[in-house]
Amino acid sequence: MTEAAREAAEARNPFERSLGESNLFPLMSESISVFQMNLGRVCNLSCRHCHVGAGPGRTEAMDASIVDECLRVIKRQRYPTLDITGGAPEMNANYRRLVETASSFGINIKTRTNLTILTKDGYTDLPEFFARNRVEVVASLPYFSSETTDRQRGGGVFASSIEALRALNSVGYGVEGSGLKLFLVYNPCGAFLPPPEKSIEADFRRELKKRHGVSFTGLFTITNMPVGRFLEFLNVSGNFIGYMERLKSSYNPEAAVNVMCRNTISVAWDGSLYDCDFNQMLGLKCGGPPDHIRDFDHERLSVRRIVTGAHCYGCTAGAGSSCAGAVAR
């Protein structure tokens, strides 16, 4: 290594040094197979770990013109997967039109839900709406007990989530043979890494069936990212240094190869483009290519350099983490 190269390496952030040691620096995108839209920060819940900082008091919401721009891009590029998130995306005024239009393109649509919104007035017909449009449902449920779930997401959330899961099961979601997929998302209730995905999935399957008669297709584990409210929790509770050391010491090169940002583009409520939802919350826009949906350039975005920081250790720790769960063994 030349002196100049050594100096450049030392100037990198620690995550970039880890990437360099795995021959992955600079981290580049490989393609775009997931088009993720964050419809905004409005939500009926204010979860303690939320990296978005979403809640009922937020007003940021994707408007019709940005939704139209996104639909134009999706229609033109025919990306295999549209991943819709928030906040509670269902609360966006353009949500149903987005789903119905994208559904007509014949692509796979994933909608992320906090479940509880499906029990509120004006939203209880959504399970049928999802089924009609063959939408894949990805539902947050941090644990199979009310104590842990409510501690993270608020009082009464677990009971409401079970009510929503039953409604989804009743239209066929998570029921074998229906073709309607219902995935649950586990995240740790605190400053520790998630357990092995298959192991905790077996616990959820057994306990939710036994205690509540609920079934589901599969479960994803997601690592809490040191961003947003979870970062506030880490700082206030004195866990920040220990958690970051845990993430860093658990760096897994196999997970780094498979990080989701390498095949995802993330669109914010205002149309700005990011490598992932976490960079979105940190205000780290795509570097290099045009960074707004109005100027979307598939060719350049497909081979862009990913913007990274210390928070990226959250996606490469242990079995790794992505919006679709673990990415390595």
Partner: protein
Amino acid sequence: METYYNPEDLKKFSTISEGAPHLWKKFSEWYGAVFAEGALTEREKALIALAVAHAVQCPYCIDAYTQACLEKGSNKDQMTEAVHVAAAIKGGAALVHGVQMKNAADKVGM
């Protein structure tokens, strides 16, 4: 305030290799093998370790295996029951030695 136990010292565990690196190497390899998935799962082994940590009252081990149990998928109810198992054995061990007390008392008594 200075104390005999400092959480930062846990990170220095491997410095005990200084002076006898060959023994540390053997210990590390054996330790890793012990906690790997086998006839027992990694989750079960972490729960056993947590219970033993309480029995031997090692604050480093309690810290490390609380984290390990959570990361292997155990919850606080299960971990609390594991600690009760350790406590029951410790308590039972003390109590069962009462038989020796009785034997000794009977021997010297009239």
